[in-house]
Every structure is written in structure tokens, then in C-alpha cells.
């Protein structure tokens, strides 16, 4: 899966963290990914302005693949493909 065709990816699960501040979006995303398999895709919706920095760092540290970042101003949407970690 490449970043180029990320717009056509159907997420396995969507997590809406609207209204939540750090550390909750990352915490909820960690819990959501626990329930997914390697290769599954989690869509995360955030309104915390820190998420633009936090969610990519979260994926990087976990070894997941950040497929897409969509910054719509007050809302950010991310697609993360689960890696081999828990």
C-alpha cells in the first residue's frame, strides 16, 4: 500500500476523538489499534490542534504506517495502517 492511493483506502475502523485533548486521542488510538490486525487501517478524527504533530509521532513510535493526513482546519483526519506491534 502506498501513500498515493490512500484516498481509496477503506478504513477497517474509525475513531472519533473530537473534543479530546492530549493524551486522550493517542490513548484511544492505542486501544483501538490493539483490537486490529497487522495491515488493518484505523481512521482517526481529531480536533486537538496538537494532533497534527502527535498522531504522526504516535505512528512512528509504534512502527505503524501513516498513510494519510488530511488537515481541514479545525478537524484533522488520519489513516494509520497497523504494523507488527501490539
Amino acid at each position: 500500500m502506498t501513500k498515493d492511493n490512500a484516498s481509496r483506502i477503506e478504513p477497517t475502523e474509525t475513531l472519533d476523538t473530537s473534543g479530546m485533548l492530549c493524551p486522550l486521542p493517542v490513548y484511544k488510538a492505542g486501544l483501538a489499534l490493539k483490537g486490529l490486525k497487522q495491515g488493518d487501517v484505523l481512521r482517526i478524527i481529531c480536533t486537538d490542534p496538537g494532533s497534527l504533530a502527535d498522531i504522526p509521532a504516535f505512528a512512528h513510535q509504534r512502527g505503524d504506517v501513516l498513510l494519510k493526513v488530511d488537515d481541514q482546519g479545525t478537524t484533522q483526519t488520519f489513516l494509520i495502517e497497523k504494523g507488527s506491534g501490539s
Partner: protein, 170 residues
């Protein structure tokens, strides 16, 4: 120093241990209880191993009778939730007012309470070290602490922290 600080991908290679965060929580006010728990919860969510060493007033965060009623200092705290001169901060009830205001802020922002943070971090296997010296000095017994704390001295914590990738004193 090793090059481990800037790997290509944060997750460890097969056979390597996960990253580790070692925190010291030395303060027992409500506002200062949040940072170690927020960092611990975040690191655990990244898949890191996390241990917090609760020492001196920080031990109150593990104290059964105190962890649900931590307070914000109203005296000598110019950054507190209510700006007040020290002479007002010294009045009975000022600490309660500052504490109530901070709790209101946290609640309005949807932030969990300290007891909730403790439950959430422990569900992610964060290790809570209770400082043995503090227990002795402040006359705190194991029964006074919430369940599942590891009682440890400085040597045991340093042994844990020596193989941590990030160590912070709060």
C-alpha cells in the same frame, strides 16, 4: 551515547526490548500530579515500557486516603488557577477554591481525573514504584497505598532508569 535516539522507525526490531520511560513524580499537588500521569499514559500508548517513581510528596498520588483529594496550592503559586495575592491565598478556603477551579477546568476540557488516570495507566501496565525512604520518613505503610505498587529504594529505581531511553524528573 548510542545512536538509538534516532532510529528509522520507533518500534524496536525483533528481539529488541521496547523503549522505556522512567519518571520521577516528586510533587503531590493536583496540578503536578497530572504531568507524570499524562506522559506515562502517552508513552504506554506508544508501546513503551513505563515506570514512575513516586517520591516525597509525590507519594500522595499513590496514597489511598489522599489520591482522590489532591489540592492546588493557593499560596505562593502565582501561576495558580485563581490569581490572588498571597495574603488572600492564606485565607482558609482559598486552597479549596483554587482546587475547585482547576477541577472545573479539567472537567470542562474533558480531562480524566487523577484516579481515572491511575486506572488508565495501570491498565496499560505502567509500573508504580513507591519510594521506600519516603514511606519510612512519612510513616506510610504498604496498606496505605493503592494496590499493586512496587516498593523500591533509589538503587532499584536507578537500575530501572539506567536502561530507560527517556528519564524525567517532575
Amino acid at each position: 551515547m548510542t545512536t538509538a535516539a534516532t532510529p528509522e522507525v520507533g518500534t524496536p526490531e525483533a528481539g529488541e526490548r521496547p523503549r522505556r520511560l522512567a519518571l520521577v513524580a516528586s510533587k503531590g499537588t493536583l496540578d503536578q500530579a497530572y504531568p507524570p500521569l499524562i506522559l506515562a499514559l502517552t508513552a504506554a500508548s506508544l508501546g513503551w515500557q513505563v515506570g514512575i517513581y513516586f517520591t516525597f510528596y509525590g507519594l500522595d498520588i499513590l496514597h489511598k486516603d489522599r489520591f482522590e483529594s489532591l489540592k492546588v496550592a493557593s499560596l505562593a503559586n502565582p501561576a495558580g488557577p485563581i490569581q490572588m495575592p498571597n495574603i488572600v491565598g492564606a485565607i482558609p478556603g482559598a486552597t479549596a477554591m483554587a482546587t475547585k477551579t482547576m477541577k472545573k477546568w479539567m472537567d470542562a476540557a474533558g480531562m480524566p481525573t487523577i484516579p481515572e488516570f491511575i486506572d488508565m495507566t495501570r491498565d496499560l501496565d505502567v509500573t508504580f514504584f513507591a519510594c521506600a525512604t519516603t514511606m519510612g520518613v512519612m510513616n506510610v505503610s504498604e496498606d496505605d497505598l493503592i494496590e499493586g505498587c512496587d516498593i523500591a529504594g533509589a538503587a532499584a529505581f536507578l537500575d530501572y532508569a539506567a536502561s530507560a531511553d527517556v528519564q524525567l524528573f517532575i
